[in-house]
């Protein structure tokens, strides 16, 4: 309980959340940049998402006549729920007071809360596109959430805890060990992350075609600061999944003490891991086309199956070892 009362720790936790929010656009820009390079073009500057956000925050927010108060509230709910979810994920250091308060199920819950309001907001104005996007988002999330939980349960069974800090500590303690269950869980989580963050082949964040959109269709009616919050939340979500995958499966380099030098090393380590992950994402997005909407269930069932296999292999091969 001593951790819970230490003001320095809480300050660090707050700083980490801030870092999460501030670094999120950078990761999106990095992926875009690598994608541009892979398409033989220069691509926008790494600062472009920041400029876009600044522009949107300065612009007037227009709201449709038919919008209810929910429509105005949704961007704030979505943004804060995503940010709170991010605060439960260890970024630089393994142990943080926030991570001790909330476990991975809370994390999934906050993400679900954000999505719930996103979908409601999509349907609120009554335009056909918003409803279409919301229905597709629900189709995807209904299948992605169990797959994600299954993958996470596999990890938590190994670590005997649903707390992310404990899971990471467990991985660090057991050293670099090739566990089949972790491999399956990693693959499952990668597939889920692609679906949940609306990347190709599930959704295309760069499209202007309303009829093909999922995430973008829900936020079509937004403008100004509302849109900025929605886009920022999406960027945070991308970073969240990147950090989750990097830090659970490759936690090396994370700070185990809350001191300047380990934290600095932790920062460098997570930056390196995310850059690498960004390259992997960009390459995969360049190599494949978006899949047909009705293939998405098969894709997510595969993720679920991998998660299940991970759990089975844990039970069969690893328990008692």
């Amino acid at each position: 309980m001593a951790d819970l009362l230490n003001p320095v720790d809480w300050l660090l936790a707050l700083l980490q959340v801030l870092l999460f929010a501030l670094a999120a656009p950078l990761l999106a820009a990095w992926v875009k940049r690598i994608k541009s390079r892979l398409q033989n073009r220069r691509g926008p500057s790494l600062l472009q998402p920041y400029r876009d956000l600044r522009k949107l925050f300065r612009k007037e927010a227009r709201v449709a006549n038919s919008a209810s108060p929910l429509f105005r509230a949704a961007p704030y709910v979505v943004f804060s729920a995503t940010l709170i979810a991010a605060s439960t994920v260890p970024l630089l250091a393994v142990h943080l007071p926030t991570a001790i308060l909330a476990d991975v199920i809370v994390l999934v819950g906050f993400l679900a809360l954000a999505r719930f309001f996103l979908a409601l907001a999509g349907m609120d104005v009554g335009s056909a596109f918003g409803g279409m996007g919301a229905s597709r988002e629900m189709l995807i999330s209904a299948l992605a959430e169990p797959a994600m939980l299954m993958a996470i349960f596999t990890l938590t069974m190994s670590a005997h805890s649903t707390n992310l800090s404990s899971v990471i500590q467990h991985v660090l303690d057991s050293g670099l060990l090739l566990r089949p269950s972790f491999l399956f869980a990693l693959l499952a989580l990668l597939l889920v992350a692609v679906a949940e963050t609306g990347r190709i082949p599930i959704d295309n964040p760069a499209t202007h075609l309303e009829l093909t959109m999922v995430h973008e269709a829900m936020i079509l009616e937004y403008s100004g600061r509302h849109l900025a919050l929605m886009e920022w939340a999406a960027q945070i979500k991308l970073l969240l999944y990147g950090v989750l995958i990097s830090n659970i499966f490759l936690p090396w380099g994370m700070a185990q003490q809350l001191e300047p030098l380990p934290l600095l090393i932790g920062l460098a380590a997570i930056a390196g891991k995310l850059m690498l992950l960004g390259v992997v994402l960009a390459v995969s997005e360049t190599l494949v086309a978006k899949m047909r909407l009705f293939r998405v269930p098969a894709y997510l069932n595969l993720a679920f199956l991998l998660g299940l296999l991970g759990m089975l292999s844990h039970v069969i091969l690893e328990v008692g070892v």
Partner: protein, 531 residues
């Protein structure tokens, strides 16, 4: 097989139906044969034509001395016939061809809106080109209607268009457009869907009606060429060529061989540029941005060469009545040859990637199927037709200079899906590159001193038909001169008149998010059909 050897059988069959063709001639609308028909036989000529398998290609109306003169163009084996009839102008009523030829639907509605011709038996009484700019009894193509309009002020939104309602559990409508998110032309699409599968799609076009037909009246030849160049910006060469060809035929002018070669070169350049852009765009619509970027880069390079060559990226206003504005000299020819080699080197590996990419195949194969029967029924030409077994290519079927002296093969497929329409485009790029090289070879042996343009002396009251294979397919242009040698009537039939209705059939059985790629694979022109 000789040209028009089927015509005698057509006339004989008409005679069996007690339709007497009072007169006709082979001169005034050459290369088409003109047949004058009685108004009461209008339905029968279509029925017999349909039985013989003629393709319905165009209808236009022309007010001449208070008479409304209707002309329908039918095609068989690359031979064109024009059926013409005249009615008194007060309240012209005539049988509709739409019950026989589905292709006639929108063009007849266009004529009903613009000229006030009532088509008896037309299944769809709704307005088409007419939005709400004119009152129901105002017909802008009538001679007394002022070209500047009646000054009705701001046109109200076309919001009360009666789309047929659809009912059922879980069935809903998605209105899309006329303003779209991307940089494309305006048009409204009304989807009726049950969940994601599309039950029905209806297009509502006419948002880019520019009054091309009305604005043409009173222009001189140069003015008409400039106007025709702006019917659809991506087909500017083809449309201005079609208009100029019609003018030249009306004036009995034969343009220099060099000019027709240069026109051919420019037209093929236009085809290559648009096909490149489309191939990239099709891939982009299924989220494969890599192909889009590569194709865009190639197209951009190609357009910049067009700029150097002609002074305009899209080669607008280069085709003029009597010839062309630019000459392609030795340096230009070398530039072109080098460019053709370069493009061939570039597209080879790129198309290999596109044609052997599992996740692309998954999206493009079997998507957006148009059956050969539907394609034939709708009279679709160009890549949409060729991908569905319709070997309509004017360059081959009714060759004009310079194609009459060139040899090439027409790409054809029966597959009818998005992948087939992309494959046809790829093959056409290769065949265009070969054609252009052949044209350059001939140009090499043409005297430098040969003129690129001859003067056009208008023949008063004459008319002419322009038949050009643009990159989208067959373009038909009709021009009639008045007694001062100015334009009295102009009509340009873009291939999009038929590919738009084809799109409505193509999307059936597909899901809503696959519409954009189906649409892109057709890429019909809004502006070209709105006129």
């Amino acid at each position: 097989m000789n040209r028009f050897d089927w015509l005698s059988e057509y006339l004989a069959r008409l005679e069996d139906e007690h339709v007497v063709v009072p007169s006709g001639n082979t001169q005034s609308l050459a290369p088409a044969h003109l047949l004058i028909i009685d108004p009461e036989d209008w339905a029968k000529v279509a029925v017999v034509a349909k039985q013989m398998g003629l393709r319905w290609a165009a209808i236009w109306g022309d007010e001449q001395d208070h008479d409304i003169v209707l002309t329908v163009v039918l095609v068989y084996q690359g031979d064109y016939i024009a059926l013409r009839t005249a009615m008194t102008g007060d309240h012209p009523v005539i049988a509709s061809h739409t019950p026989v030829y589905a292709a006639a639907d929108r063009m007849e509605r266009h004529l009903a809106d613009m000229l006030g011709v009532q088509f008896d038996g037309h299944p769809d009484p709704r307005r088409w080109t007419r939005h709400r700019a004119w009152e129901a009894d105002e017909y802008p193509l009538r001679a007394h209607f002022p070209a500047a309009g009646q000054g009705n002020g701001l046109t109200p939104a076309d919001s009360d268009y009666p789309f047929p309602p659809i009912q059922g559990s879980g069935v809903y409508e998605i209105p899309v457009g006329p303003v779209h998110a991307g940089i494309i032309e305006p048009g409204h699409f009304r989807f009726q869907a049950a969940g994601e599968p599309i039950l029905r799609l209806e297009e509502r076009l006419g948002y880019v009606h520019k009054g091309i037909e009305k604005r043409a009246i009173g222009r001189d030849a140069e003015g008409l060429a400039r106007l025709a160049a702006r019917i659809s910006g991506d087909s500017t060469v083809a449309h201005s060529w079609a208009a100029c060809q019609a003018l030249e035929r009306a004036c009995h002018v034969k343009i220099p061989a060099k000019a027709s070669l240069i026109r051919g070169l420019l037209c093929e350049r236009e085809r290559v540029a648009n096909h490149l852009g489309d191939i990239g765009a099709i891939c982009n619509d299924v989220g494969f941005a890599f192909a889009q970027m590569q194709c865009q880069a190639l197209r951009e390079q190609w357009l910049r060469h067009s700029l150097t060559l002609t002074g305009h990226r899209l080669m607008m206003d280069v085709v003029l009545p009597g010839g062309v504005r630019v000459d392609i000299d030795q340096a230009g020819r070398e530039l072109l040859r080098a460019e053709h080699v370069w493009l061939r080197e570039q597209i080879g590996p790129l198309f290999d990637i596109l044609n052997d990419h599992p996740s692309l195949e998954d999206r493009l194969l079997s998507s957006g199927y148009l059956s050969p029967a539907s394609a034939a029924e709708l009279g679709v030409s160009g890549y949409v037709g060729k991908a569905s077994g319709q070997a309509v290519d004017l360059r081959k079927d009714s060759p004009y200079a310079p194609y009459s002296r060139l040899s090439f093969s027409v790409a054809l497929s029966e597959a009818g899906d998005v992948a087939a329409r992309m494959a046809i485009r790829q093959q056409e790029i290769y065949s265009s590159l070969e054609l252009m090289n052949e044209m350059l070879d001939i140009l090499e042996n043409t005297a430098e001193s040969e003129p690129t343009q001859v003067k056009l002396a208008p023949i008063l009251g004459a008319e002419g038909l322009g038949l050009i294979d643009g990159w989208r397919g067959e373009i038909i242009s009709h021009v009639r001169l008045d007694d001062k040698g100015r334009i009295a009537h102009f009509f340009a039939r873009d291939p999009s008149w038929f590919s738009w209705p084809a799109l409505e059939r193509i999307v059936l059985g597909n899901i809503v998010p696959d519409f954009p790629v189906c649409n892109k694979s057709v890429n019909a022109s809004y502006s070209g059909q709105d006129l």
